[in-house]
C-alpha cells in the first residue's frame, strides 16, 4: 500500500477492506477473470450460503409435517409449496441439495484418486499391469453407467454410502482411461527424457512430471463427474434405489411428487430445476477450469 496517495477517493472505501493490490490481483487471477467460473460461483455460492444458514432461516424443518398446510402451492411462507404431509418443499430441497453435493463431491474425489492411481500405473509401466487394468476397465465399461450403478446397488443395498460407492465404481473406469491416455502422451515429452538422462527414479518422474501435468485435465473431468454423479444419484433415488425416504434427496422429492403431478405440479418440478442448476454450475466450473488451466491461455 505504498500508492495510497494516487488512489482515487471513491476507491478508498473498498481498499480499506481489500488493499488495491489484492483487488487487482483478483481481477487478474485467471480463475476469477473467467465468465464461466463466475457463473458457477453465482449459482453455487448462494446455494451453499442457504444450506449453511438454513437453521437460522424462518423455515419449517425438513422432516416436520404440518397437516394444516398440505399440498399448498408456492407462497412467501413456503417458497416451493408443501407436500401431501404438509412438509415444506423448500427446506426439504435444501436438505436434498446438501445430499447431492455430498454425493457429487465424494464421487468426484474417489474417482479422481483411484483413477489417477490406476491410470498412472497402467500408462506409465505398460506391459502386463497395463493389460490387466485395461481388461478390467473394459469389462466395467461394458455396462451403461446407470445400469452398473443399479446393479451395484442391488448387491450393496441402498443408502448414502452404497450410492456413492456404486456411482464412483461406475465412473472410475472412465478416469483410468483418461489418466492413462494423458500419461501416454506425457511419457514421450522431452522433459521426461531430460530427467531420465540424469537417471531420475520412476517415482520422481511420476510425482514431479506426470501427475502435476495430468492434474488439470483430470480436475476438469472430476468436475463433470460431480455433475454426472448428482444426476445419477437423483435418478437412482427416483427409481427407489438410492437414498431412502424420509431422507429428502432431490430424486426422492421428485419421486414423491410424481403421484400428485396433476394436483401439485410444484412438488416434482421445482426440485428438478434445482438439480439442473447444480449440474449446470458444475459444468460451468469444468469449462472455466479448462479455460483457466489451458497453458495456451496463460501468458
Amino acid at each position: 500500500m505504498s500508492n495510497t496517495a494516487i488512489t482515487p477517493p471513491e476507491r478508498a472505501d473498498i481498499t480499506r477492506f481489500f488493499p488495491v493490490k489484492t483487488v487487482m490481483a483478483l481481477r487478474r487471477n485467471r480463475f476469477l477473470s473467467n465468465s464461466k467460473m463466475i457463473g458457477a460461483l453465482l449459482i453455487l455460492a448462494p446455494l451453499g450460503l442457504l444450506i449453511l444458514c438454513a437453521p437460522l432461516l424462518p423455515l419449517q424443518a425438513p422432516l416436520q409435517t404440518n397437516l394444516m398446510a398440505m399440498m399448498q402451492p408456492p407462497s412467501l411462507e413456503h417458497p416451493f409449496g408443501t407436500d401431501r404431509m404438509g412438509r415444506d418443499i423448500f427446506s426439504r430441497t435444501l436438505e436434498g441439495v446438501k445430499i447431492s453435493l455430498q454425493v457429487g463431491l465424494s464421487v468426484a474425489a474417489l474417482a479422481l484418486v483411484v483413477g489417477m492411481l490406476l491410470g498412472t500405473l497402467a500408462g506409465f509401466f505398460g506391459g502386463l499391469i497395463d493389460r490387466a487394468i485395461m481388461v478390467i476397465v473394459d469389462i466395467f465399461m461394458a455396462f451403461p453407467s446407470l445400469l452398473l450403478a443399479i446393479g451395484l446397488i442391488a448387491v450393496m443395498g441402498t443408502g448414502l454410502v452404497p450410492v456413492v460407492m456404486a456411482i464412483a465404481i461406475a465412473d472410475i473406469p472412465r478416469f483410468i482411461r483418461l489418466q492413462r491416455s494423458l500419461v501416454l502422451g506425457l511419457r514421450t515429452r522431452a522433459y521426461i527424457d531430460a530427467a531420465r538422462t540424469v537417471h531420475a527414479s520412476q517415482f520422481w518422474l511420476m510425482s514431479r512430471h506426470i501427475v502435476p501435468n495430468s492434474l488439470a485435465p483430470m480436475l476438469v473431468a472430476a468436475s463433470i463427474s460431480a455433475a454426472n454423479a448428482i444426476l445419477v444419484e437423483a435418478s437412482l433415488s427416483f427409481l427407489g434405489l438410492g437414498i431412502m425416504p424420509p431422507a429428502p434427496s432431490l430424486g426422492n422429492l421428485i419421486r414423491e411428487g410424481q403421484l400428485y403431478m396433476e394436483q401439485a405440479w410444484w412438488i416434482s418440478t421445482l426440485p428438478g430445476v434445482v438439480i439442473l442448476l447444480i449440474a449446470i454450475s458444475f459444468h460451468f466450473l469444468s469449462d472455466g477450469m479448462r479455460q483457466a488451466l489451458d497453458p495456451r491461455s496463460r501468458k
Binding site: 515429452r189 527424457d193 514431479r208 497453458p295
Partner: protein, 658 residues
C-alpha cells in the same frame, strides 16, 4: 511504384493491403500497408520469419483467411479485377482457375478420405470443361509432369498411401492442372527433406516457366530465394521492408534487417574462423501497437526518427525500394555490439582423447502383425554405426529424416537400449532437445528446471544449488530475472538457452544437441549457434550436433558424420567433407542445399538426386544408397561397402571412394 519502364500491365497488383487478427491479447496487425505487384510470368519470393505476416498476406490475396483473421483495407487487382470487391461466387470462379495454390504441409493438405483421382479431376472438369475421361487423362499427364512414377496406377491411391514429397507433387499438379496465371506457393518445401526440396523446386521452376505462370513463393529460406526468384519482398513485423530484384537484394541490400539476415547465414565458402554475426533481441510483440520502425530495437543504425515515425518505402534504385530512414541502412557497421571473437577449432591439448566410443551399434525396431507372428517388420533405425567423439570437439551428424540420427542420439543418452553393439562414454552425457516447447515441464519455474539434475543427483545443499543455478543462467546469457518465470513466458530462443543451462548443470563431458535450432527463427538461430561455440571453447565440453541443416553443421562442427538409412556413409573433418565429399550421397546432399547467392546458384548444375528414400522396411543387400546413386554399378547392388579409411583422417562407405 516499381514498375517503371515496364510495358505490360501487372498480373497482380496489391495496394495498401492490411490484414488483422482479433486475439484475446489484442488485435494483431498481421499485414500492414503492403503494396507490390507481379508481372506475368514473374517469380516473386516473399521472405520473412514466422509471424512476419508473409503467409497472412498470401492468404489475404485470395481471401482465404479464416476467422478471426480478416482483410481490413486495401485492394488486390488481378488483371485489373479487384478481388476485394468480388462476390463469393465470382471469387470461386477465380480461385483454382486464375490462381493456383500450394500449401506448406503436404501431409494434411489433401483430403484423406478421397482418392487422388477425384480430387484432381473435379477441378479440371469444372474449369476446363472436360468430361471425366479427358480430365482423368489430363490429371495423369500432370502427375507425370511433376515426376510421379507410374501415374496411371498412383492416381487411384489415397493420399495416405504416398510420401510427403509425392503428396506435394500431387498438390502442385492439382494447382497447375487448371492452367492458372499465378501460382501462390506458401512454404511448399519447408516440411520436406533437402534432396526432395531440391526436386520440388526444380519442378516448380520448370513447369511455371514452360507455361509462363507467375509465381509468388513464400519462404523463410534465403537460399531458396536465390535459387528461384526474380524479385524478392522482405517482410518484417507485417510490413514489406524491402523489395528488389534478387541480384540487388543479395548484392546491395538496403534495409538493416535484410543486411543482418544475410550476414547471419553461415557461408559455405568462408573459412568460418570468426563468430557468426547475430541479430540481437527478438521480433516485436505483434499484439502491441508498434510505434515507429518495428526493427529499430534490434538495429545498430537506429536514431531518434526511427522511434518517432515508421519509414515508408522509398526508391533505392531502378527497381529497388526499402523502408529505412538511413540511406545506407547499416552500411558497413557490424550488426551486433559484441565484438567478433575468433572461433577456434578444436586444437587444445586433449584433442585426441576419445571420450565417446561407439562400436558397431545397432538399433532395430521390430513390429509383428496380429495374425502371423512370423511375418515381422524390422526397421533398422541404426545399423552398424561406429563413431568416436573426442574431448572438446563438436561432431556434426547430418542426414535426412529417417536416417536414424535422432535414434542414435537417444542411444547415446541411454534413452533407448541398443539391439547390439557398445557405447563407451567417459563422464556424463546430456541433451538439448529440438522442440523448446516440450522440453520443459510447463508447471515448473525455470529455477526448478535448471535445479532438477542437481536435485536428482543430490548435489550440494539448497544454497550451493541456487548459486550453481544462478551461475548457469548467466553462463547462457540470461539473467536471474528469468529464473522465476514459467517456460510459457519465455521465447523459443531463451528456452533453448535454458535447455543448454540444464544440460550443463552436472558438468557433462558430452552434450548431444538434436536439431537445437530448427524450431527457431532465422534471426535467433545464430545466437544459439554462437552460444554453443562459445561454451565449447570456454568449458571444453564436447558437442554432438545433430541437424539436417548442412550449412549450420558445417559451420559449427570439427568433424562431420553423414548418415543414410541408419548407417554412417561418410566421416571426416568438416571442411574437407563439405568441400570435397567422398561419398556420392554427401555430394548430392551438398548440391541440394540452396546457397544464398544468386550468382552461385545460377552456375550450379540442376542435377538433383533422383527418387526418394527407400522404405525403411525393405531389405537391401548391397549399398543402401545404390537405388538412388548416379554412379551405382552391379557391385554396389550386391556387395555392401564398409566404412573404410580412404584418405588421411577420412572415411567413407563407398566402393569407389578415392
Amino acid at each position: 511504384m516499381i514498375h517503371q519502364g515496364e510495358i505490360t500491365a501487372p498480373l497482380l497488383d496489391v495496394r495498401n493491403l492490411r490484414t488483422e487478427f482479433a486475439t484475446d491479447g489484442g488485435t494483431v496487425r498481421a499485414v500492414d500497408d503492403a503494396s507490390f505487384s507481379i508481372m506475368p510470368g514473374e517469380r516473386i519470393a516473399v521472405v520473412g520469419e514466422s509471424g512476419s505476416g508473409k503467409s497472412a498476406m498470401a492468404m489475404s490475396i485470395l481471401r482465404l483467411l479464416v476467422y478471426p483473421g480478416r482483410v481490413v483495407a486495401g485492394d488486390v487487382l488481378l488483371e485489373g479485377t479487384n478481388i476485394a470487391q468480388l462476390s463469393e461466387r465470382q471469387l470461386n470462379q477465380l480461385r483454382g482457375r486464375s490462381v493456383g495454390t500450394v500449401f506448406q504441409d503436404p501431409m494434411s493438405s489433401l483430403d484423406p478420405v478421397m482418392r487422388i483421382s477425384k480430387q484432381m479431376t473435379a477441378p479440371i472438369m469444372r474449369n476446363l470443361g472436360m468430361n471425366y475421361k479427358e480430365a482423368h487423362a489430363e490429371a495423369v499427364e500432370w502427375l507425370r509432369k511433376v515426376g510421379i512414377p507410374d501415374p496411371e496406377r498412383r492416381i487411384t491411391a489415397f493420399p495416405f498411401e504416398m510420401s510427403g514429397g509425392m503428396r506435394q507433387r500431387v498438390m502442385i499438379a492439382m494447382a497447375l492442372s487448371c492452367r492458372p496465371k499465378l501460382l501462390i506457393a506458401d512454404e511448399p518445401t519447408t516440411a520436406l527433406d533437402v534432396t526432395i526440396q531440391a526436386q520440388i523446386v526444380e519442378i516448380l521452376k520448370k513447369l511455371t516457366s514452360e507455361a509462363n505462370t507467375a509465381m509468388m513463393f513464400i519462404t523463410h529460406d534465403l537460399g531458396l530465394v536465390a535459387r528461384l526468384a526474380d524479385k524478392v519482398a522482405v517482410m518484417y513485423a507485417g510490413r514489406i521492408v524491402e523489395f528488389a530484384t534478387v541480384e540487388e537484394i543479395f548484392a546491395a541490400p538496403c534495409h538493416p534487417y535484410t543486411q543482418s539476415l544475410l550476414r547471419t547465414i553461415p557461408s559455405p565458402t568462408a573459412l568460418n574462423t570468426s563468430r557468426l554475426p547475430q541479430i540481437p533481441g527478438l521480433p516485436p510483440d505483434m499484439k502491441k501497437a508498434i510505434q515507429g520502425c518495428a526493427f529499430r530495437e534490434r538495429c545498430r543504425a537506429a536514431t531518434d526518427i526511427c522511434a518517432r515515425e515508421a519509414p515508408a518505402l522509398t526508391d533505392r534504385g531502378a527497381s529497388h525500394v526499402a523502408a529505412c530512414w538511413q540511406p545506407e541502412g547499416l552500411g558497413s557497421s557490424p550488426i551486433d555490439a559484441q565484438p567478433d571473437r575468433a572461433l577456434r577449432r578444436n586444437d587444445g591439448p586433449f584433442r585426441d582423447r576419445v571420450i565417446v566410443e561407439i562400436n558397431n551399434l545397432n538399433k532395430h525396431f521390430v513390429s509383428s502383425s496380429f495374425l502371423s507372428r512370423t511375418k515381422r517388420n524390422v526397421i533398422r533405425a541404426v545399423n552398424g554405426v561406429s563413431l568416436r567423439v573426442r574431448q572438446g570437439e563438436t561432431l556434426g551428424i547430418v542426414g535426412e529424416s529417417g536416417c536414424g540420427k535422432s535414434t542414435l542420439a537417444r542411444l547415446l543418452l541411454g534413452l533407448e537400449k541398443p539391439s547390439s553393439g557398445e557405447i563407451f562414454t567417459e563422464g556424463l552425457t546430456q541433451m538439448v532437445f529440438q522442440d523448446p516447447a516440450s522440453s520443459f515441464n510447463p508447471k515448473m519455474r525455470i529455477r526448478s528446471i535448471i535445479e532438477e539434475p542437481l536435485l536428482v543427483k543430490r548435489k550440494g545443499d539448497w544454497r550451493t544449488r541456487q548459486a550453481r543455478v544462478e551461475e548457469l543462467v548467466k553462463l547462457v546469457g540470461l539473467d536471474e530475472a528469468h529464473l522465476d518465470r514459467f517456460p510459457g513466458q519465455l521465447s523459443g530462443g531463451q528456452l533453448q538457452r535454458i535447455a543448454v543451462a540444464r544440460a550443463l548443470a552436472l558438468e557433462p563431458s558430452v552434450v548431444v544437441a538434436d536439431e537445437p535450432t530448427s524450431a527457431l527463427d532465422v534471426s535467433v538461430r545464430a545466437q544459439i549457434i554462437n552460444l554453443l561455440a562459445d561454451l565449447k571453447q570456454e568449458l571444453g565440453v564436447a558437442f554432438v550436433f545433430i541437424s539436417h541443416d548442412l550449412l549450420t553443421v558445417q559451420y559449427i562442427s570439427d568433424r562431420i558424420a553423414v548418415m543414410y538409412l541408419g548407417e554412417v556413409v561418410e566421416y571426416g573433418p568438416a571442411d574437407l567433407v563439405f568441400n570435397s565429399p567422398s561419398h556420392p550421397y554427401t555430394k548430392a546432399l551438398i548440391d541440394a542445399v540452396p546457397i544464398p547467392d544468386p550468382a552461385r546458384e545460377a552456375k550450379r548444375a540442376s542435377a538433383v538426386l533422383k527418387g526418394e528414400l527407400p522404405s525403411p522396411l525393405s531389405e537391401i543387400s548391397g549399398c543402401t544408397f545404390a537405388t538412388r546413386c548416379p554412379l551405382a554399378t552391379e557391385q554396389c547392388r550386391t556387395e555392401k561397402p564398409k566404412l573404410r579409411q580412404h584418405r588421411k583422417s577420412r572415411e567413407a562407405a563407398c566402393h569407389y571412394a578415392k
